[in-house]
């Protein structure tokens, strides 16, 4: 994504960027491996199924990839901070249900009136709900020092429970709205395909560009890398570490809510069970993309590649007719393989640099005569 940006806005100080290229070689290797995996996956499935590379299939698969990629972008923010967000799948379900509920029309308390908010209001409220879940996660983690794993695990249940409470376990299907009520357009806006490219794909591109800029060009982005890399040093450098920590969860919640809306429009139905286990695919995409779970290392570009690896793998397996059971085994193995190779390479690198330091001749010594 950075490359796209640079071509769009050429910087005056482009020439001195040369050493940067060289240094990014390492990062490229990490991401490059994911890219190699992607190429292999495409090659294998293209040879097994002639349909795999058909434009319609590619667009379909990319649409699946897009939702996970948007989730993964939010997840990347949290993981760069050294945290984890397990609640995104539930947030997907909750925001979708909130949108469905509002589109159905809701009974205003203490009155006989039923309110039908406009579509844009529905969208904004649903996104705010996602950000609220993120805010709660963020406050739990940054102010109350609850471990991210625990805080977001708790919110995984809470958000899912609330989604079920809102619908009473049912599914909302009347999402098209009525012209008379002025709440039409939800489906056409979010499930449409301007220029033949599905809305989720457009949004994936927008999210990727926006968050690349945030990570690479804003103070917040630099602070995020710094807090993930060394929180103590960042704090002493005046980085508002608590604010940064809270904000990444809000971003993650926002991304999840966006996916909730897209998924609801795509189905089209608002079901409280939507998005179950989505958090796991998002984490897998981030990790395959070369991010470190300990924080401070990872890129949008890598995460996108990771999302494509996961998405193409899953859809490819379906396409060539591998059994559902085997699909799970293979997906798990690919995730482990990707991270194991990453760790192996880092260990080797460390060992090599240690050796470099230690190559010093030992002076030949005579044994003491005593």
């Amino acid at each position: 994504m950075t490359d796209t940006l640079q071509t769009q806005a050429p910087q005056p100080e482009a020439p001195p960027e040369a050493p940067k290229r060289k240094l990014n070689l390492n990062a490229l290797l990490v991401e490059g491996r994911a890219l190699v995996a992607l190429v292999i996956i495409i090659a294998i499935f293209a040879s097994l199924s002639p349909n795999f590379l058909q434009p319609e299939n590619l667009i379909l698969m990319t649409r699946h990839v897009a939702m996970n990629a948007i989730l993964a972008i939010g997840m990347l923010m949290v993981i760069l901070n050294g945290g984890i967000d397990l609640s995104v799948g539930s947030t997907v379900g909750l925001s979708g249900v909130v949108a469905g509920y509002l589109l159905q029309g809701y009974d205003m308390p203490l009155t006989q009136l039923v309110a039908y908010p406009a579509v844009w209001v529905v969208v904004v409220i649903s996104l705010l709900v996602g950000m609220l879940v993120g805010l709660i996660n963020g406050v739990l983690v940054s102010r109350l020092n609850v471990a991210p794993f625990i805080a977001t695990l708790g919110m995984l249940y809470v958000a899912r429970g609330i989604a079920l409470l809102i619908t009473n376990g049912e599914t909302f299907t009347k999402l098209q709205g009525e012209p008379a009520l002025g709440n039409t357009g939800f489906l056409s806006a979010l499930a449409g395909a301007p220029l033949g490219i599905p809305m989720p794909v457009w949004l994936m591109v927008v999210f990727a560009i926006v968050f690349s800029v945030v990570l690479n060009r804003s103070a917040f982005g630099r602070w995020l890398y710094a807090t993930g890399g060394n929180e103590r040093a960042a704090e002493l450098s005046g980085v508002p570490i608590k604010k940064v920590q809270t904000r990444v969860y809000i971003i993650s919640g926002f991304c999840a809510a966006m996916v909730g809306l897209l998924l609801t429009a795509d189905l089209p139905a608002a079901t409280p069970r939507a998005g179950e286990f989505y958090e796991l695919n998002a984490i897998a995409a981030v990790v395959i993309g070369g991010a470190a779970l300990s924080g401070g290392r990872g890129t949008i570009r890598g995460t996108l590649i990771g999302a494509f690896v996961i998405g193409f793998l899953v859809d490819g397996l379906v396409l060539v007719g591998v059994s559902v059971f085997w699909q799970q085994v293979i997906k798990g193995a690919v995730i482990i393989l990707a991270v194991a190779v990453d760790q192996l390479q880092q260990t080797l690198q460390k060992r090599r640099s240690v050796k470099r330091v230690q190559v010093q001749p030992r002076k030949p010594q005579a044994t003491p005569a005593g």
Binding site: A219, L236, G296
Partner: protein, 526 residues
Amino acid sequence: MTEATHDVMTTAADEDEVVLRAVDISKTYGVTHALKGVNFEVRRGKVTVLFGENGAGKSTLMKILSGVEQPSGGQLVLDGEVVELDSTNDAVDRGISIIHQELNLCPNLSVRDNIFIGRELRTRSGIDYARETAITRDLMTRLEEQIDPGTQVADLRLGQQQIVEIARALAADARILIMDEPTSALSSAEVEVLFRVIAELTSHGVAIVYISHHLEEAIEVADHAVVFRDGELVATANAADIDLPWVVSKMVGRAAEYDFTGEPREFGDVALSIENVRVVDAEGGGRLAVNDLSLQVRAGEIVCLYGLMGAGRTELMEALSGRQPIAAGRAVLGTKDLKGHTIQERIRMGIGLVPEDRQRDGLVQLMTVGANMSLASLLTMVKRSLISRSSEKARIESGIRDVRVKTAGPQALISSLSGGNQQKVVIGKMLLTSPKVLLLDEPTRGIDVGAKGEIFSLLFREASKGLAVLYVTSEVGEALTASHRIVVMAKGRIVREFDPATATREEVMAASGEAGADVHAMGAEQ
């Protein structure tokens, strides 16, 4: 005075006493020579004390003896046999144990479990707790410390925890016990207990290698003294033949290679005013690390805060920077009270800290030299909510030039730099925030003499432009040659102030308790 310098080849008569001998041991880190061909021996049933200033090579030798690091040259001879200690486990198996200044216990486990950790006694059905408990009880009796084997280590006082460490070494059949600053965190009574334990161990033939900055204490416990300076062993002697002035004169040796005593002194208004500040020790339940301390630093002045470890210097620095709360009193920057301001706000107001441990608190290892450099002043480079690349680049480059960082460029990884250059980046980072007061905690720790000189000339240059500097050091040489005023701190208070132009090393060290004060206080308590 014995001058057996560089000649430790002993006579045949006491040859049998020597358990461990270091022959021509040297150690280099990159271009730094931490040890230069050291010959040294440890005798059975004796306490060998290593003296030397920070960076003299004591800790490097200790790491080599305990298997943490391997020598670049020379040999270790254990019981007449050449050995290579590949790891600490290897050393422990051969009977060499080390007790670090920071204790190495699991606070959540019991005394017994800590003593046998990693070498549990097993039966076919699991761990033989009964035998472990019995052995632990025996060890505690031997060490005259009534601690139940089932007590959690977290519930023990520090002195008791140290006894547990010693017991662990004994359980592993340690014949050589290395103690690094064992008394720095102990109360006087606990020191007495420790010395009794040491006497008991030596009477059973255990050889002790003892390192301490409390010189008189160390002289008291020593059988043999070895003095290091700049990576060389400069003197050895029997304890009977030595006294404090001898040790200090051997330790100090040459003058520093930099000297800023001739720098002009033109001070401005009071930049930082510390008024009756108290700081609670973050670790030791309710103890005051800084106790009713008052100090003023003027613009353009470089004040050196000298003292021993545990004197409360770091806590004072952290409280001023905003990392720890000030419990009572106030700190005023110019005219503004620092109370209630976050670290970020304080940096913007003009006070920042260069921390003691640059790896842990100063640098983000995953980021480049440039990104580390600009981290504290990013907001000043933001235009239209994005970091302006041109302004960041210009600031970073001027920073690198100003503090003279030797680097391949702003895009080089911070981990590719030497310690001295990394430290310059941390200092440069804070200077880019245009501070009025710069706090530095042990700014020259672990860096070579050349880089030390560069760092101080940098500070003096900034001071001449009006920066107020308050820095902490444990090296007298630094205090005397690179400050406008020496403030000596002990036990949370300022005990004396010196003018570096007229003060002597002995006076400054004595004031800190390094030589004298502590031992006398101990005597008085009994």
